[in-house]
Amino acid sequence: MMSSDVYTARVNPSSMLPTRTRAIRLAAATLTLALVTAACGSDDNSSSDNSTEGSADSVTIYSGRNAELIQPILDQFSDETGIAVNVKYGDSADLALLIEEESAANSTRADVFLSQSPGSLGFLEQDGRLAVLPDSTLELVPEAVRDENDRWIGFSGRERVLVYNTDLVDEADLPTSVFELTDPEWNDKIGVAPSNGSFQDFVTAMRSSEGDEVTEEWLEGIADNDAVSYPKNSAIVAAVGRGEVEVGLVNHYYNLRALEEDPNQPSANHQFAPGDPGAVLIVTGAAIIEGTDRADVAAQLVDYLLGPVGQQYFATETFEYPLAIGEEPPAAVEAIEFGDVSGFSYSDLGGGLEQTRIMIADAGLEG
């Protein structure tokens, strides 16, 4: 290897023609192979799409919930009912934008939208992209965890908690209310995710229960306390684990996940007092897309997610709170009263989610 002279590619084509030609043929063959493979691949996809999408016994889902969290229960639904399930995974907000564009072009592909948070569902609802859910579906959950206009329904819940580093903080010193985090003792110690959907939903819930003035004051207090911004919950949990910040405002299950990956990580969840705005339940929601001709199959799927099998799957496999009436919460988390859950409505709050975003930005938490 060392002896080879790298100072090469001489401009003397005639001496190299045989090898060069062979290389070109090889390249051409590779190209052809790649193209053929790609063509076959797309053929496979389109033919399978045609065979399933056209028939009534299939359903197409755009899922903002990750495959890791939901594919197993979708597979089980498919096995039990014989209904084929096609899923496009992505970020909830991005998929909502895509549904918006498809719907605007009268060319919707999705029958069901599963969202990580109510924000993206509210976005689609205000433009009339979501269908009204059947009563039989709506009745499965308490009123508090579904849309007041009956266009989406919560199917699992995550509690907002304070994750903390067990090496740096004593649980006894942790606050019972999220409002105590504006105390100077927490200066430069808090991690937040101001651009993340579930943080924004939590702030919107606070606006709903405490009013805009109190919320604004709290946001400014957190910003003045030099809270550190992260893009998402999992990044906060990792930062708390590293000791970069001592505590962080997150959804409860991220730390349970992190401990499953690395049991030695010094982090734990702390629950705020029941009824505190910091302990609100953020729901993941399902909706049926307006204009789908498979609304019945779509509703069947949503009902399945809210049935005993679906709800216990979320409780035991993803550590989430089941929302359907009569279902038990997972063993790994403490039970909370449904009375503490706020089914706030975006339309009721002036400006909805955009007003929340502006308030977060104005407080100096974003950017």
């Binding site: 063509a39 691949g41 990750n66 992190a258």
Partner: protein, 513 residues
């Protein structure tokens, strides 16, 4: 040829035109725009200037060391030093930060030498370091390709005049490399301004944050921010085009085989420099990813076999996009190098700015454009549209290398070869291709590596059920399934190394030496 390059340019301009059209239609309020955009814009420009300057120096230096000197293990370095490009930036940055945690490689090595590790790693400095370490290959690959095809006779003359190796490099080689360096730095600049995942994780607020955080709640502002990004990109492309100097074909056909520069004692600092760059851009992230993957493999939560399908489809789609991207931009490159004309310039600018538009915006604009066009709507969410989107987004990466390739064919040689071989296709294959191969391989290589890790376009525009390694990495990372993230990332890096070696580096190397 001009008509063809005009048509190609028009297709590439699609998303940009859409962004401007929608911005005008939604009409963001001016006071709002003025209060939300300037500060992040200024931060974006600062970061982009820092990163592109750093990578220009780093990429050029490393290319020269690995191509023109007797640096130990230089052929191995050529593969290793290209690889930092292949990790999706959000996972690269996350894995890098993980190295700073207690038990992480940076944390522990710093403690070993008695330095207390930083508590936080955030802001402009952190983003500059991480993005530079991940993006310098955008400069490295085109410059390596240029060095391979560069005539060495001028170097020889320089040496005869008594120049030292350094003087030869600065006074003779560097001016000839300028277009490749500028083209590469331009890619880095555009990558940096449209980057979102890594800068967010590193706590540095840029213009893409405005685009993302307002994409649902205030679409007018979101599109206004995208248009500002587009204008910034156009400005920087114009600047690059005015500074890159002569890009006519090389007119010197004669060559000599110059000996590799002997580094002697300088081989030690050169080797250390390569090792340091590889450590930051590759080794630190890989060690963190390895730790994550090991935990999952030990208790059997993850397995390699599940990744076979995504790996195969990733490789197929990336190689396809790479080959097609090079073929598509070739007419534009030929036009702008051999017969410069305003049309080819406009087309080439339209190809380049496609890289400044964030992938999410490209995906949405192509969705809107196809869904609302009667015949094209059947291509929505097909492999065809997905590959087209990759080509539009990454065509700029193919253009720089393709221009280098076109320049490598001397005009004189083309004239004389016409006499010897009248058949155009045979002539192209036998005379032009061998000379163009290093440039074309570098061009396709960049597109391939970028496609391998592409995320937002793949998620939105792929056929339902299609998954790549990047989507697997994203899905598992998003929810904190780090073992799966680690394993898929390691597979991605390994596969990229093999593909880079076989398809990009080997074709550029001498077959006969």
């Amino acid at each position: 040829m001009r008509l063809l390059s005009l048509a190609i340019g028009a297709v590439f301009a699609g998303p940009a035109v859409f962004v401007v059209w929608r911005t005008l239609r939604l009409g963001a309020a001016l006071p709002e725009t003025l209060s939300e955009i300037p500060a992040p814009l200024w931060r974006t420009v600062q970061l982009a200037v820092l990163v592109s300057t750093t990578t220009a120096v780093l990429g050029t230096g490393l290319a020269w060391l690995t191509m023109r000197t007797n640096l130990p293990l230089r052929r191995l370095w050529r593969v290793i030093l290209v690889l930092p490009l292949v990790l999706p930036s959000f996972v690269g940055a996350a894995a890098f930060i993980a190295g700073l945690a207690p038990g992480g490689v940076i944390h522990d090595s710093l403690e070993l030498v008695g330095i207390s590790p930083p508590r936080r790693f955030r802001g402009l400095g952190a983003s500059w370091l991480v993005l530079s370490a991940f993006t310098y290959p955008y400069v490295l690959l085109p410059v390596m390709a240029r060095l391979v095809s560069l005539r060495s006779s001028l170097d020889e003359s320089g040496r005869l005049l008594g120049f030292t190796a350094t003087q030869v490099f600065i006074r003779i080689t560097l001016p000839q490399l300028k277009p490749a360096i500028l083209g590469g730095s331009l890619l880095v600049f555009l990558y940096t301004v449209s980057e979102f995942g890594a800068v967010q994780l590193l706590g540095y607020d840029t213009l893409t944050r405005v685009i993302y955080s307002t994409r649902q709640t205030n679409r007018a502002l979101s599109f206004a921010a995208a248009t500002v990004l587009l204008i910034l990109a156009l400005g920087i492309v114009a600047l690059e085009r005015s500074r890159r100097g002569v890009v006519a074909p090389d007119d010197r056909a004669e060559t000599t085989t110059a000996p590799a520069v002997k580094l002697r004692w300088r081989a030690v600092p050169a080797f250390v420099a390569c090792a340091l760059v590889a450590a930051i851009g590759l080794v630190v992230p890989l060690l963190s990813l390895g730790t994550w993957a090991r935990r999952g493999l030990v208790d059997g939560r993850v397995s390699l076999s599940e990744l076979a399908d995504p790996a195969l489809s990733t490789a197929t789609v990336a190689v396809t996009a790479a080959v097609l991207a090079v073929l598509v931009v070739l007419p534009i490159a030929i036009g702008s190098i051999r017969r410069p004309h305003p049309i080819s310039h406009v087309s080439s600018v339209s190809v380049v700015v496609g890289f400044a538009i964030p992938g999410l915006v490209i995906a949405l604009s192509l969705a809107v454009l196809t869904l609302n066009t009667p015949i094209f709507n059947r291509f929505y969410q097909t492999m065809g549209l997905l590959v087209l989107a990759y080509i539009i987004h990454f065509g700029s990466q193919a253009l720089a290398g393709t221009e280098t390739a076109v320049r490598a064919v001397p005009s004189g040689l083309r004239e004389s070869s016409k006499l010897l071989e009248p058949r155009t296709i045979r002539r192209a294959l036998r005379i032009d291709m061998p000379l163009m191969r290093p440039g074309l391989a570098a061009a396709g290589g960049l597109v391939m590596l970028s496609t391998l890790k592409e995320l937002p376009i793949t998620l939105l525009l792929s056929p339902i059920g299609f998954s790549t390694l990047a989507t697997e990495i994203w899905a598992s990372y998003e929810e904190g399934f780090y073992a799966a993230t680690g394993l898929a990332s390691l597979v991605l890096v390994a596969m990229s190394a093999v593909l880079t070696w076989i398809l990009v580096l080997r074709p550029s190397e001498a077959v006969s030496s």
